[in-house]
Amino acid sequence: MNSGSLRRMRGLIRKEMAQVVRDPSSILIAFVLPAVLLFLFGYGVSLDANNVKIAVVLEDASPEAQSLAVAFKNSKYFGTRLGRDRRQFEEDLVAGKLRGMVVVPATFTETLRSDNASTAIQVIADGSEPNTASFVHNYVQGVFGNWLIQQSFDVGRPEAVAPRVAIETRVWFNPELQSRWFLLPGSIAIIMTIIGTLLTALVVAREWARGTMEALMATPIGIVELLVGKLMPYYLLGMGSMAVCVVASVTIFDLPFRGSVFALVFVSSIFLIAMLALGLLISTVSKNQFVASQIALVVGFLPSFLLSGFVFEIGSMPVPIQNLTRIIPARYFVTCLQTIFLAGDIRSVLLSNTAALAIIATVLMVLVARKTNKRLD
């Protein structure tokens, strides 16, 4: 690269920088939006069901049934309402004001002593929220199981339920299984996807719309210089957004940071370059802003939200969709961030995922260069 090229590039970078600084919306996208989004993701997205609303219907008035009801009342996982008639709660289940109902039938004490004890109580969950429904079943099972053990202690037969094999569980990286620790790194990946594509897609599309892109094309600037010049300011802005996200997660949400800053900067840079290239590609392909914004939404936010493994399990998706997730850059970034934040610099994970990101970034860059080239001649 000769000095003329450097000078031209510097000129373009300065022009882009000035444009960024003078346009309040770029600053808004780069610094305010990530902070607001992180806040929303941090508080708004949670899988920790701590106060699931259920109703306990006591059709049996025996002391045992009462004691079981107290056990449900005392569970920190449930917000329990008591009643005598299941019909009074059915409407609330339809309305979504209750997520489950535990029915203690009139035959409760009898069944409990029989061999058929698993029908002693009935659990009905609201299946329209499948994840919460599973929680309801598991927690009810847990409360009921503990209550049974307590009961047999009280009647002095502890050996009846003492297990032959005890389970000792250890959870690495996230001992309390807080869903926030799992969701926040993924949230950062999604926020960065939004910021990266939105920044370039909109800004460059505006240049096409105003005709200033043609003016740029008419200057002696080469295609590589043009791309570097265009991307550099947005890369810096994007890294600024990343810093906002990371600092806020660690300070406000107490997310541990066990990896190295170097690994974080390295992986983020490659991801950001891929995102910026994607934004450039979108805006180059579609000069119309309506189209650009639609495509940015389609290829940016929603797939990264749904197909990145940020909250939904990739392993449980049908195979064609699992394969589709392989072209979503956020998928690799989510894995990297979860590892860097919670586990540390684990090379086997970081290298393979970063390599995939680098491939995507390269392909996108080549596509951008070729598309832009065509417009020059």
């Binding site: 609201d126 329209s128 049974l148 959870v171 799992f182 389609v298």
Partner: protein
Amino acid sequence: MFSRLKALIFKELLAILRDKRSRLLLVVPPLAQMIIFSFAATLEVKNVEIGILNNDRGQASHELAQRFHGAPTFRHITYLGGVEEIAALIDSQKAILVVHIASDFSRKVEAGVPAEVQFILDGRRSNAAQIVQGYAARIVNQFNGTQPVELVPRNWFNPNLSYIWHTVPSLIGILSTLSGLIVTGLSVARERELGTFDQLLVSPLKPFEILLGKTIPSFFLAWAEGLLILGVAIFVFRVPFNGSVLLLIGGLSVFLLAIVGVGLFISALAKTQQQAVLGAFVFMVPAMLMSGFATPVENMPPWLQVVAEGNPLKHFMIIIKGVFLKDMPPALVAANAWPILVIALFTLGGASWLFRSRLE
């Protein structure tokens, strides 16, 4: 007045529908997203890879390991040779769970002394880890044979806890929000940017008519898209539709009024199309996060749940899932629709006020 209004509505529809690409973008992405995302949005845990480290050569440990082997949830089991291999397997995410059976396991079981099994889980994926732990604990309990009582789970509205049944109705809400916002949000901003908005202003149209002329076409387009997606949900995905179509369409109409109001509000504020898109986004992301789509609203901190009451999508999600799966009675639909109506009044009122104050 009506002929003027009609002309404006006609022009608006043309502006969007004339461009082939815009036309395509109104129909293809929502359908594609519907199909892909319906299958993707699942919190189920299937096809899990786990590891087993069995330091014991006895009968009992072999039997326990076999039970894991036979479980359908665990697709691939890696057998480890020593404790030092555990970290590598978990770290590299090749297994989400390692079951560690100590060398004295079978001896203890045969002697009737309580034996121990250790589960090591990858907390990076906390939700999956929790669910896998549940599966694995069930296997151990079955091996024990002393599981106190295994309750029979029963689910109303969605007996097999199918995620598709949950996701598809939710996506109707999300995708119609998206199209409603974008179409409305850009309609004014585009004219501003092209300079044609001033022409509208000097025309005999009154501000109120301009507003109506912008609202009606956007509403109509978003409505048509909502119905299209609804049709796909019912006829392609075969999600059971237990409630009344009329109630759902009524709910959709009220909801879209609110969304179009938001779109217009953004339009009135934005000077360029870029700001309009940004505004639409700034509304869309929180609306989606606080709608109960990905994670339930009741898991959020109480103060944020209060904020979520102002989110039209949250209320519409209850209606749409209620009508689809629960055959929600009209009274309950109305109970969830009136907050949307209030929001619609606010957004439409706010937008028209903003419009007028900007015009003067």
